[in-house]
Amino acid sequence: MIHVQLSGQLRDWTRGLSRVEVDGASDILSAVRKLDATFPGLGQRIVDDQDKIREHVNVFVNLENSRELGMEKAKLRDGDTVHILPAVSGG
């Protein structure tokens, strides 16, 4: 079970839920796809048309930024917590 923590604006897609669980996701992209299957439209907010994490979206696995872990290919293990947050873009 992967625990996914969603930032404020993404909760519009999850009927207000800030924390959701996904089962059987081996990496971030597969977790995003599973999220999208449960909450249609959510996936395209997180990844672009080429399934890359959007430029100004930060995804953390536990406390590590996915940019250091292979981005959308970052591996997940049972019990991990994934945070999906808007990047601090701008001044």
């Binding site: 604006q9 993404l10 249609p40 439209g41 907010r45 048309d49 080429q50 979206v57 808007p86 873009s89």
Partner: protein, 362 residues
């Protein structure tokens, strides 16, 4: 088509969401709803007369672009779960949606979207699901297309009920393209349109078209505001004629045609690409009654000194008689005229930077 009410709806897209103004057909007292769709750049909005909905093209710096739809004049919105998306094989990704245009009355459910990187998308279910136009996506010249200052954007879609198979589009900085077969195939329509930044001043494509406008009553007469001039075509884009004449500048972005007089054309000139402020520090709309042969300044009711900039979708004409003209500025000022620009009235001066203004009777 829904029954016509007695309201006019003015839709204003900004860098901080959208505002919807409504008034009776007299267009004197505007009631504002908004901001709605907060956190999004709203590059384009359109009223769909077929079902009474408002469509909005949204681009979020964080969460990407999408389409939203309101069935209650902007009070509540439903965001698409399957917005425009390029096929993976293209290697492309939608970065912004610049234009949204409902199809004709007879094309039930058809909506077009103009995308960056440049491509036309079509929905056949009222904007829920979308498909990239393959003729444009796979166009043989695509590899040579270059972006304008705003990006490689398809920013204008012109349809006319009189020519149901025709689609005219404009891309910066690629030029005007026309399809006469409903989007199956595309031809460049840039003859005699100058490219000032190229050694070859009149190439087949590469023109920096800023906006196209027509009146449906004269579907083959097209007006164009370009980076390097103001043009008119009398044959649906096959040939273009320079109609700058006595305009104070050839540079500007928006363009609108009068609802009742197809030869009356409105522009908002800026000094030039070197200095994008109004000529003489005095913003004015300019109009021609004779399809560009001569131009008149329309500034009654506007500030004597102003440095307004109106972006490419920031000015529009309504369908009333006399025709109303509306413009919104990057300083958040919204002006309206109920008499073809002869007198301007301020609707608001407290909005965020305005990206788009559209209007419709509801």
């Amino acid at each position: 088509m829904t029954a016509r009410s007695d309201k006019v709806c003015l839709m204003v897209g900004t860098r901080k969401g959208a505002f919807v103004f409504t008034a009776d057909r007299g267009r004197k007292n505007w009631k504002m709803t908004g901001p709605v769709l907060k956190g999004n750049d709203v590059y384009s909005m359109a009223y769909d007369k077929r079902d009474g909905s408002i469509l909005a093209a949204l681009s979020s710096g964080h969460w990407g672009p999408t389409i939203a739809k309101s069935k209650d004049l902007g009070k509540t919105w439903k965001v698409s779960k399957t917005p425009p998306k390029f096929p993976k094989s293209s290697g492309l990704s939608v970065s912004r949606i610049w234009q949204i245009t409902p199809g004709s009355e007879k094309q039930e459910g058809v909506v077009y979207a103009g995308i960056e990187p440049a491509c036309l998308f079509k929905s056949e279910d009222g904007g829920d699901t979308w498909k990239a136009n393959e003729g444009m996506l796979n166009h043989e010249t695509r590899k040579d297309w270059q972006a304008g200052g705003g990006g490689l954007c398809l920013h204008t879609i012109v349809l006319t009920d009189k020519r149901p198979k025709r689609i005219l589009i404009a891309i910066s900085a690629v030029g005007t393209m026309r399809s006469d077969d409903g989007g199956e195939s595309w031809e460049f329509k840039n003859k005699k349109v100058m490219v000032g930044y190229s050694p070859n001043k009149y190439p087949v494509f590469g023109q920096c078209v800023h906006k196209l406008a027509i009146n449906d009553a004269a579907p083959d007469m097209i007006f164009q505001q370009n980076h390097f001039g103001v043009y008119r075509s009398d044959d649906a884009g096959d040939n273009w004629k320079d109609i700058r004449n006595n305009l104070p500048s050839r540079f500007g972005f928006p363009a609108a045609v009068d609802a009742n007089e197809p030869r009356r054309f409105y522009l908002a000139p800026l000094e030039g690409d070197f200095s994008r402020i109004p000529p003489g520090g005095h913003f004015a709309v300019w109009a021609s009654d004779n399809a560009g042969a001569e131009w008149n300044k329309l500034d009654k009711g506007l500030p004597e000194s102003s440095y307004f900039t109106v972006l490419r979708d920031g000015m529009v004409a309504d369908q009333e008689d006399p025709c109303g003209i509306y413009f919104g500025t990057t300083t958040g000022h919204l002006y309206a005229s109920r008499n073809q620009g002869e007198q301007w009235e301020k609707v608001s001066d407290v909005l965020p930077p305005i990206l788009s203004v559209s209007v419709s009777a509801t």
